[in-house]
Amino acid sequence: MTTTPTRTRPSASRTRGGIGESVGRPDGVPKVKGEFEYSSDLHVEGMLWGATLRSPHPHANIRSIYTSDAEAMAGVFAVLTHEDVPGRKVYGMEIPDQPVLAWEKVRYQGEAVALVAADHPETARLALGKIRVDYEVLEPVTDAETAMSEDAPKLHLSGNELRRVDVRHGDPEAAAEVVVEGEYEVGMQDQAFLGPESGLAIPDGEGGVDLYISTQWLHVDQDQVAESLDLPPEMVRLTLSGVGGAFGGREDLSMQIHACMLALHTSRPVKMVYGREESFHGHVHRHPAKMRYEHGATRDGKLTYVKANLIFDGGAYASSSNAVCLNAATFACGPYDVPNARIESHMLYTNNPPCGAMRGFGAVQVCFAHEAQMDKLAEKLGMDPVDLRLKNAIEPGMKFPFGQEVPYPAPVREILGRVREIPMPDEQEAMGRDLRELPGGVSNTTHGEGVRRGVGYAVGFKNIGFSAGFDDYSTARISLSIEDGEPVVRVYTAAAEVGQGLVMVQAQIARTELGVENVVVEAADTRTGSAGSTSASRQSYVTGAAVKEACEKVRERIFELVRDEFGESDELAIEDGNIISDGREIAPLMEILDDGEISEIVEFHHRATHPLDENGQGDAHFQFAFAAHRAVVEVDVELGLVRVVEIATTQDVGKVINPKALEGQIEGGIAQGLGLALMEEIRIQDGEIQNASFTDYLIPTILDMPPVKMEILELADPEAPYGLKGVGEPPTIASTPAIVAALRNATAMELGRIPVRPEHIIGIPKKPPDELPQPESSRYSGIGRLEDRRET
């Protein structure tokens, strides 16, 4: 290392692009311009196209599979069935119960049965048509409650109960002065990511394979693929390719093992891309739920007890249903101080499409129910619904019904109080408004006739990260070196960027910790150790902490060099590529590092969690995040049309790492919550999906999305890096119940099932008879309501 005398420099300048700044997405402009390379755009010379034959039946025995005709087709290179799976014939993240390719039995419509590799996607598709599968069709079990009954056919050897979690807390006999009961139902929601399942498998010529893939968790894919290929994991190398959204739907495998099998079998690269309809069959969905609730309270509005019976339809295979069942049980009472609770959470196997992870993961369904119950209770008590919530809000130091102490921060009271204080949107005279500001919008259905406004509140919470004893960790390697005369930091992790903005977060942390602006976040692959899943809102926390700690170690090594060289004993820092001591620049990094590279690896494990005991008690979660929402809606009660006027939200995020990205997460989460409240549902009949397209499965458009007012709290979690909390899921949880609460407020209807669509509102107003419109009342008010009054 050369020694140059310390020069006088201007006072230290700050490193740009660190935490707290709205650093832009590197992939933002290419995505908007259509130039971003998604996994569906992958291409290599000489590649083949894979395709999957799927079961048309939700439940059937397979008598035989006849592949010769397909094999004989020109351009077909391989036709594979379960017999060709080299290793473990089943896969699954929690319980390996799902066949890589079905044998003997299919348990849902769309289950993979055979594979084809061909020189053209169309050849592959035509070849699928030539595979003959002889099915003995069986009666499907299409309802979770039916699956529970003794005489239902057993879909798996273990029976139809996939998981049951009971939470028993306090006095089972507790009696209350005021009781409300309710039944609630949540339809099956889809993640509706835009990039279909896709990837490219390239054989390495030595028996191994490289897979370029869209996923949420490279290593859990790698383990499962290797098991089924009967290869050691190091022979199955995964690299993340451009991911077009995930929301939980890419946590399970789709075409990973299939593409690798075809590639190894043909010794050619094989690409697979699902079409949209196939995609609906190719990933898990949000669990539909039926929930019965009973809340007891004192006359002055303190909760006495909560009883709940939750029934989830897990579909044909386990996926992450275990954890969803546990989550639902632990969050069933909401973020409230509940002295006595009896929660039964049931997860059933059926012949419906498998359900698993989706943004909110078990918290979404119960939040819809417990918040409806709180409103019902408030009404019965004659209390303001927010006041009732404030009165029962949980606080740090209290115990959750599942026995865990509520950690600091848990600002339920504060976020509720604040969301109420956010100014209400103006209510303009309906007549004469811009069409887009009326229910029905540009469909031109009203000038304000029949329009009623409603306001609703909800608060929700959820765990961040994996729970209940799971060893949840992330690995990061940080290297610092001089390239072209400039210090450069490279960040290596296997953490999946799925659109949420982790690439910015990683770079921002490295800049802040190492004082170097030029940070390169390398493509994620399995050469670096596992980063865990990009789910449960956990990556900023867990991978963020790994990156931060690895940076700290690198920094410490630099400081050692500085101390050795300059004998500095003051506290050192790095800003904008310079070593700073006592506000003074003492040397540029370049001089300290010279040609050397400093590299450190950290595996960060968060605080241990513990499984629940048989009474559903235990320290199951390590961090909780809270958000409150207020929805203002307008309903055209005559046509059943709804416009969400505005959502206001307060969320505690611990620390804002990237304000713009945070805003994006909150708005996107609310859009998904709005979708579940008003339109999104996979319709299933006899186990078959009826609307596997984006023409028939409706998600909100930009015209459906209201403005969002947000207020962010930064109450640092003492255990988390920078005090941050996961932010991805909370916006989705309470936005749905807030919108439905506002609809109830506008219509006086029960609305116990979501999504609430026009047919649920039109023609069935349950207003007491004395409020019937009078003949001489305003011209528009009476349209169509009298005759349609039907008690259902």
Partner: protein, 329 residues
Amino acid sequence: MRPYKYVRAQDVDGAVATLAEAPNAAFLAGGTNLVDLMKLEVMTPDMLVDVRRLTSDRVEGLDDGGLRIGAAVPNSVLAADHKIRSRYPALSQALLAGASGQLRNLATTGGNLLQHTRCVYWQDVTTPCNKREPGSGCSAIEGHNKNHAILGASEHCVATHPSDMAVAMAALDAFINVQGPEGERRIPIEELHRLPGDEPQRDTTLQHGELITSVDLPPVEFFSNSKYRKVRERASYAFALVSVAAALDIEDGIVGDVRIALGGVAHKPWRATKAEEALRGEPASEANFRAAADIELEDAQPLRDNAFKVPLARNVITRTLLDLSEEGR
């Protein structure tokens, strides 16, 4: 998709002649409907005869003062045409309420009229459907049928016609000009689309090889007082649950003449002639509008999931007429 032959004819005669000899061929216009259905293998023509450049793509005046719309006029162009907007506003509104900007650029007048039902069972080749496979049964009658017909359905088929444009044209007394192997015909739109009856496989009264060349709108003054209203499940980009096209002529508070057509309720754009009849010569009042709607909907036979369409249709009819009476006064 099944392999097929693609042919571009020189002129209308050539296209008609080609189809006349190919029983399993189809005309291709914008392709926004047909190609999707071919991908699903719901439709499996072995030959496509591209007609997009064969017919007029312009809106022109007729001697009688009416307008002639070429079959190849894109939906977006038709919606923006100033003569249409001022003289037949319901048509422009209907077009703009349909599909998306990109689709409307490609979709044609002829193709839009002849677009096929969105019944999910018809589109799903693994389920029985009398329209796709006569005699195999109707899956919708016992299935998810909230999007299905409440009027004019049969025990063989409860599908609805999805077009917004055709509903407006039905209200506006359009005539369809057709050229076929047997020469030219002019069909009132009312007679173009069929009810399913016991031949649900036939959507229209057109014979194989008959090409729509243009659509005529008659010169009716009060059609400038017309409106289209569409109820759908999200703010844009969704088919109608129920829609209404109406035109109203009022003099001194009395209904001189009226046209009403409904979308989303039947196998064809549903011309509400009973309601029209009940209103002619009566005071233009809310009570009368509602009563007229009730008369039309008396015959409604809702299925399990679509009873809501009855009050919905009544409310939209009433509102649209009220709106027109307000503005046409």
